[in-house]
Symmetry: C2
Subunit: 206 residues, 2 copies
Amino acid sequence: MKTPASPVRRPRDGTLKTALVDAGVALLRKRGPDGLSLRKCAAQAGVSHAAPAYHFKNLAGLSTAIAARGYSVFCQTMTARLEQADASAMDRLNAICHGYLDFASTQPELFLFIFSGQSFNKEDDEFDRHSSNAYAILREACAPFVPSGAEPEEVEILVWSVVHGYAHLTMTRKADSPRFRDSWPKLDLLLEHLDRALETGREPGR
Amino acid sequence: MKTPASPVRRPRDGTLKTALVDAGVALLRKRGPDGLSLRKCAAQAGVSHAAPAYHFKNLAGLSTAIAARGYSVFCQTMTARLEQADASAMDRLNAICHGYLDFASTQPELFLFIFSGQSFNKEDDEFDRHSSNAYAILREACAPFVPSGAEPEEVEILVWSVVHGYAHLTMTRKADSPRFRDSWPKLDLLLEHLDRALETGREPGR
DNA sequence: CCATTAAACTTGACACTGTCAAGATAAGTC
DNA sequence: GACTTATCTTGACAGTGTCAAGTTTAATGG
């Protein structure tokens, strides 16, 4: 008698998966990380409560997919800055640093989510692809500053630490404390120090 | 007829509050941030499921108390390093940086918890006390490196960014990626760069 | 065109969660 | 010894993730 549900009947092209991730990102933005739930994503996408689990196995799976999406726009944001930079190595490095901060400040929930320390499913292809790509962008920008014979990670982690620390503290602390209302220094101020450190590292005689 | 519960009958000196925080920290360590729950803390402390809400109002309240505890041992860890340092400003600064990393690596769950970006109850006295104290320790160690006429935050955030970025990336990324199995640089390598940057900043003529 | 098959869901159930209202108990006070 | 109040307990409810089983539908092969 009753046609039980069949609400949207979307084509079988994997639309639902991306729709669920869309819903997850929106929920993250609106309700914060605690507001994220399989059932709410399902409701927002117009499917039954158990539909997400079919595609993502469990909540960790959905979280991984959302994190992959996060890394994807992370890469886009850095690339956008990179395209505006001139060809000089220093300008390109500063560009990705500003792109890093752009992402953190325009997408604070996604930024904190992917760096929350929760363990995502590293087997996931999409996740691995986008997160690796983010590091590749960093690596490429750092390459000109690696002294011959040195490990590239020495420069990469230095750069990454400065910009990530600044971005992460900005997101987690600045808003918290009235202490930093107007005195929070600009990123460029840190980058001046960083640039000088890398310049000296460039000359083999130090 | 039945004496309903009255399981432990602890004295009214606020023991339960700290016992619940103990349980929360233990749960965080054992089960991760998702394993933390009011009911499990209650069970571990031997009280009924609603007892924690009486003392902490809600889960956010308990989380804030746990974070306050986290900041407390954070301060202790940095202070411990400070006591082993000699009187030189540079040695003291490096000491708190190493203390920072000590805390992150010996208490990874607490470290990630307090820097998870979730908004704790900033009205809470204990929380405010310990988190402010942590920043005060940093500020004191940075003070000798602030050029006259400059904002202290310029140095503080630079130092904090480097060491926090390094610690946070170490905790969130290093374990993830096989990429960094042996190549992850030591903190001292970054501190050399930082120390040089601060030395030059000290001389007004740059 | 129709039967079959497998993918993409839905339905229903269960244990667990935070939160609230109401009751119980015991310690301290007069 | 009555009273008051802080400290819990009990019971309930809505929301959660997850699983098992059923249902629909698209694609396939004859």
